[in-house]
């Protein structure tokens, strides 16, 4: 009955290769750290590593939730605008004649992110609009509102209000709070994606949305929750950035969509959905973070890195595409 059983010869091998994609990425990371350490004495300093990890945390948090969105076959490019608007709103509220108390700023910021995420989720799941176009619109709206709110100026935050989330380290062990948040969020997302019913639904929707619906999975609700999560994660990143820079400005986090999408794709998430993992994305954000930081340390300018980043993004997608084509 050979025709009944189409087993590919490398069946057992295949799973090993998938695992090793993530392993290879971590290997690449280790090599990069070694190379940059050799090239630049400053790279391997405590100060630089700490700065680098804080920067990674800032974009890593959004990359984590975006991974889930992208596994369903969706996309959220409104995250940069969301971050900018969050920083503007926080700075604005704090600089009013009767400033909003500092303790209230965090829930207000997160509520803003949730509202933006719900807005995206509504149009994408209820009206079935294309996620790229919908979040592209939201990106323009949020960044535009940032300009309106600040009258296109930067609003400084003189007192250290949000600084405690952006800069402060946990006393004693010198670990930046953003890094702690990043680690906790990734641990939760890892559990959600690979050990929870919700995570399984995310994969099912990405693999075949119609089959997921027939199987009684509430496709709309799952996707709505993901866009909501993405919005909240972006506003959390916005809080961190506001804390680090002590300024609210509408130009914050420009082009950040590109960083985050590159990291998620590098981590092995398929643009078409159905495939991806949190560990892969972790490797992706670490590699990109080390790369940018390392390049800066050995003297490249932002403009050079931007060219490199664009080339890298296309190369990653091409590599995965070629690999998948070979498999079929």
């Amino acid at each position: 009955m050979a025709d009944i059983l189409h087993i590919q010869p490398g069946q057992a091998l295949k799973r090993r290769t998938r695992l090793s994609t993530t392993l290879i990425l971590f290997g690449v990371l280790a090599v990069m750290v070694a190379v940059f350490s050799a090239l630049s004495r400053d790279f391997y300093s405590f100060q630089n590593i700490s700065t680098m990890l804080t920067n990674i945390s800032f974009s890593g948090i959004v990359a984590g939730t975006l991974t889930l969105v992208m596994i369903t076959g969706g996309l959220d490019i409104s995250i940069g605008g969301n971050i900018a608007l969050t920083s503007c709103l926080v700075a604005y509220l704090f600089n009013l004649a009767h400033p909003v108390p500092a303790w209230a700023l965090i829930p207000i910021a997160l509520a803003l992110g949730a509202a933006i995420g719900a807005f995206n989720g509504f149009f994408i799941t209820r009206l079935d609009l294309n996620p790229i176009i919908t979040t592209l619109g939201t990106m323009a709206v949020t960044r535009g509102l940032g300009y309106v709110l600040t009258k296109a100026r930067s609003i400084l935050i003189m007192e250290d209000v949000t600084g405690f989330i952006g800069r402060t380290v946990i006393p004693g062990i010198q670990i930046p709070i953003p890094l702690v948040l990043f680690a906790v969020i990734f641990a939760i997302l890892f559990f959600v994606l690979s050990r929870s019913k919700f995570g399984r639904k995310v994969y099912c929707i990405g693999a075949n949305q119609a089959a997921a619906r027939v199987s009684g999975i509430n496709v709309r609700r799952v996707k709505f929750v993901l866009y909501l999560m993405s919005g909240i994660a972006a506003s959390l990143s916005g809080l961190i950035l506001t804390g680090q820079t002590a300024v609210g400005m509408p130009q914050h986090a420009r082009g950040m969509e590109l960083d985050v999408i590159t990291a998620v794709l590098l981590g092995g998430t398929a643009l078409a959905g159905g495939k991806g993992s949190i560990l892969g994305t972790l490797a992706g954000v670490l590699i990109l973070g080390v790369l940018y930081n390392g390049f800066t340390m050995i003297g490249f300018r932002y403009v050079h890195i931007s060219v490199f980043q664009g080339v890298l993004l296309i190369m990653i997608v091409a590599l995965y595409e070629l690999r998948d084509r070979k498999k079929n």
């Binding site: 009955m1 025709d3 009944i4 059983l5 189409h6 087993i7 590919q8 069946q11 057992a12 295949k14 799973r15 050990r195 929870s196 019913k197 919700f198 995570g199 399984r200 639904k201 994969y203 099912c204 693999a207 075949n208 119609a210 089959a211 997921a212 619906r213 027939v214 199987s215 009684g216 999975i217 509430n218 159905g274 495939k275």
Partner: protein
């Protein structure tokens, strides 16, 4: 006898494990309509695909006007004046009638190569007029009805100088009036000397429009007869012709209480006051032609499509089916007609596919109990005899029969009592079919009930305890197992 327009001589074609065609010969004369009939799998489509150049025959020859031809691709067939109208129309919906008609050779202004729209619309108008077709060249094709699109396709074929027109189930999606108007156009083509091959499941139409009929069964030609000298009964017995083998493991099981009661289910314009009931231990077959509405009944009962009116009662309790979740909550499970489209998450492992419709019950609370999932998946792989290296294997790498068994396992895992199965053995090999029949019988023995759609007559007659015939959205007949025959069923579809 005059030279035939087309002759296919001694065509044989073997696919892995199946002899699709064996020594089949047909001929078509100018100005004639030849009907090609047979059950699903009889070899009609294979024969047509060989003529179109999609497949190459293993042995056999094709002659056009007495000249031997060798088609290696569909464009070869087109170059010899053969055009095909398939069930699924391939019109360019965002363009106009004129653009569709003249695609590839739109008139251009000499100097700059731009399309001369005035001339294009005028050309198209003339083409349509000579064929007595009432269409405005400037209409956007997406706005046309199915019938109008079909007429447009025919016009396009004729405009490309087709002398042989092959139509595969052209009336499947048409109502009575449009069918008659299509036939008027075909008769017009006959007068112009075009030869038409007409494939249809609707025998009544075969008598309306064809001059001769060729009957295929199990890849062989049974006979070609003059339509005027044949009877409906004669054609049906030629199509069916075989004894139903032991192949179907149907058992006599006790029939219990009513599980599902459907009253006056209506979807405006599609199904009209469909009523039936399903009892435990019973398989009820819904039989009908393509487009009869039988699938809409099943989809509505599972909440995939809404319905406009009607009552549904599950175990005597009136219920409103509110989406697939609601249906599953009421103990109703559904097996989709196309496993790749709506059944499987290809790219995910066998285990994830099996638990997919019951994921909320795999473990307590938020967490997924992965050990429980593995146990359940392994149990179903054994019980339904899914042939797979292990439960972690990608569902995509298994054969159609094993994929279908995964869909069945998924359905069983939901613990449903009422199963709606849309073509449960479509496109799978015989061994897997028998396994699925056994599972269906086991379900009935355990007190479940099954509503089944099948377009394979033998399967319907052998597995269903009762058969409800649906034609044009209405129930036209109901037969119990003892009284149902192929002839009666086919006849009821013409009512």
């Amino acid at each position: 006898m005059e030279q035939p327009l087309l002759e296919m001589r001694n065509i044989s074609k073997q696919f892995p494990g199946v002899q699709a065609l064996k020594d089949v010969s047909i001929d078509l004369r100018a100005g004639e309509v030849l009907g090609l009939v047979g059950e699903n799998g009889a070899g009609k489509s294979t024969l047509i695909k060989i003529l179109a150049g999609d497949y190459r025959a293993d042995t056999g020859e094709i002659f056009i006007n007495g000249r031997k031809v060798d088609f290696r691709s569909p464009s070869d067939a087109a170059a010899m004046g053969i055009q095909f109208i398939y069930q699924e129309l391939i019109t360019l919906d965002t363009l106009t009638v004129a653009e569709n008609l003249l695609v590839g050779h739109l008139p251009t202004r000499k100097m700059i190569g731009m399309v001369d729209w005035k001339a294009a619309n005028e050309n198209a108008r003339q083409v349509l007029e000579t064929m007595n077709i009432d269409l405005d060249p400037r209409t956007i094709v997406g706005d046309l009805t199915v019938h109008q699109k079909q007429v447009l396709e025919i016009a396009k074929a004729i405009h490309k100088k087709a002398t042989i027109l092959v139509m595969d189930e052209p009336t499947a999606a048409l109502g009575e009036e449009d069918t008659q108007s299509l036939f008027a156009i075909i008769r017009n083509l006959k007068e112009q000397g075009v030869g038409v091959i007409h494939i249809s499941h609707r025998l009544k139409e075969v008598f309306d429009i064809t001059d001769r009929v060729t009957v295929l069964r199990d890849g062989q030609k049974i006979d070609t007869v003059q339509t005027s000298q044949a009877t409906m009964t004669q054609l049906i017995s030629m199509m069916v012709g075989r004894e139903l083998a032991e192949f179907y493991p149907k058992r006599d099981l006790p029939i219990g209480d009513t599980l599902l009661e459907v009253g006056d289910l209506t979807i405006n314009g599609i199904i009209d006051r469909v009523s039936f009931s399903l009892r435990s231990g019973e398989i009820v077959g819904l039989f009908g032609l393509l487009g009869s509405g039988r699938m809409n009944v099943l989809r509505a009962l599972y909440g995939l499509d809404g319905y406009d009116a009607g009552r549904v009662a599950v175990k005597g309790t009136p219920t409103i089916i509110n989406g697939p979740r609601g249906a599953l909550g009421n103990g109703i499970g559904y097996m989709p007609i196309d496993r790749k489209l709506e059944g499987l998450a290809l790219g995910l492992p066998v285990s994830s596919n099996i638990t997919m419709a019951n994921i909320d019950n795999i473990g307590r609370g938020f967490a997924l109990n992965r050990r429980l999932e593995r146990e359940k998946a392994q149990k179903w792989v054994n019980d339904v005899s899914i042939r797979t290296p292990d439960i972690a294997t990608d569902a995509n790498s298994l054969s159609g029969g094993n994929q279908q068994k995964i869909v069945l396992a998924k359905l069983l895992e939901t613990g449903s009592k009422i199963f709606l199965m849309n073509e449960p053995t479509r496109g799978i090999d015989v061994g897997a079919k028998v396994d699925i029949y056994h599972m269906m019988e086991n379900l009935c023995e355990a007190g479940a009930g099954i509503v089944m759609i099948s377009s394979e007559l033998p399967e319907m007659l052998s597995m269903a305890d009762r058969i409800i015939v649906i034609a044009k959205g209405k129930v036209t007949a109901e037969f119990n197992r003892a009284e149902a025959t192929q002839e009666k069923l086919l006849h009821a579809t013409t009512l």
